[in-house]
């Protein structure tokens, strides 16, 4: 399956990266990793790209890593439609001090606007 993973550097997105790479190795998915400018994340896009590259190398998975600039949600949705991805994968949200799951703004936008199935990794 042709899978597009969007990560912005939040903890839940890095967890989604590990799990999606693992899954792609098992299932033979054709994976593209899109690094997004997430204003809610403390990590820079360059740091996230380096991290994604090393995770892919370690797993021995050949996957594209791209930096998407501009509005992260709409850029990701646009890319998914334009290049015929079958699924978009995102992190499953951060937890509040109470333990409530809070979806980021990117996930909300993509869930409502993506033309294909969206998976949130938990």
């Amino acid at each position: 399956m042709k899978v597009l993973l969007g990560i912005g550097g939040s903890d839940d997105s890095l967890d989604a990266l590990d799990r999606t790479v693992e899954r792609a190795v098992e299932a033979g998915d054709e994976l593209t990793v899109a690094v997004l400018d997430n204003p809610e994340s403390d990590r820079s896009a360059d740091e996230v790209i380096d991290h994604a590259t090393s995770v892919l190398e370690e797993a021995g998975l050949d996957a594209d890593v791209r930096h998407l600039t501009g509005d992260p949600g709409s850029e990701l949705v646009e890319l998914a439609g334009r290049e015929g991805f079958e699924q978009v994968v995102l992190g499953g949200g951060e937890r509040s001090p109470m333990g409530k799951i809070r979806l980021g703004h990117i996930a909300e936008f993509v869930l409502l606007n993506a033309p294909v199935t969206v998976s949130l990794v938990r």
């Binding site: 509040s96 001090p97 109470m98 333990g99 409530k100 799951i101 809070r102």
Partner: protein, 185 residues
């Protein structure tokens, strides 16, 4: 509403006893530690919690997950109150420090004790407990479809701060809240 101030309250402090709309004697008491008598009843309440009443991923399902979740809430710097009917926990409300000088609030009432005023008394007692302990800024998030919860939060004095996402964020300044000295009402 009093004419001299818009400050929230007055709120009762625990222990706070009252009769609910079903005529049951309910007492709201503070819960300081997981070693407290009654902690097991709270675990049992959550273990029996209607899964369809969950909100934003909590309470978790399964006793093990419930215990590890409660371990992060009870004790430490959080403030917890539990509503009791005889020896059964029927509701729980908590103020958890967010590491930024503010507290996140949540409240859960067992499905068999909803609709009879327990939630209102429980949250008001928690706010009184927090105010008496110098808790200032309190916030919460609630799913925007959860109208009953939003109405409860508004009734006790919360104001909506942000409503642009799936969740509504509400807050209250407890530093000016009045605390009730007579705890019978």
């Amino acid at each position: 509403m009093t004419s001299d101030t818009d400050a929230p309250g007055p709120f009762p402090t625990p222990p706070h006893a009252f009769e609910d709309a079903d005529g049951r004697e309910i007492t709201v008491r503070s819960l300081a530690s997981t070693d407290d008598e009654g902690f097991e009843s709270l675990v049992a309440m959550y273990d029996d919690f209607d899964p369809s009443m969950r909100a934003q991923g909590i309470p978790p399902t399964g006793e093990d997950r419930v215990r590890s979740w409660l371990d992060t809430l009870v004790g430490g710097d959080a403030y917890n109150v539990v509503a009791w009917h005889d020896d059964d926990a029927v509701g729980h409300a908590t103020l958890v420090p967010d590491g930024d000088d503010a507290y996140e609030l949540a409240i859960f009432v067992h499905q068999d004790s909803q609709g009879c005023g327990v939630g209102t008394r429980l949250i008001r007692t928690l706010l009184g407990y927090g105010a008496a302990n110098d808790v200032g800024h309190v916030w919460l998030t609630v799913e925007r479809w959860n109208r009953a919860a939003i109405a409860l939060y508004e009734k006790v004095g919360f104001e909506t701060m942000s409503a642009e996402s799936f969740e509504i964020e509400m807050e209250m300044d407890l530093s000016t809240a009045r605390v009730q000295t007579d705890n019978t009402g």
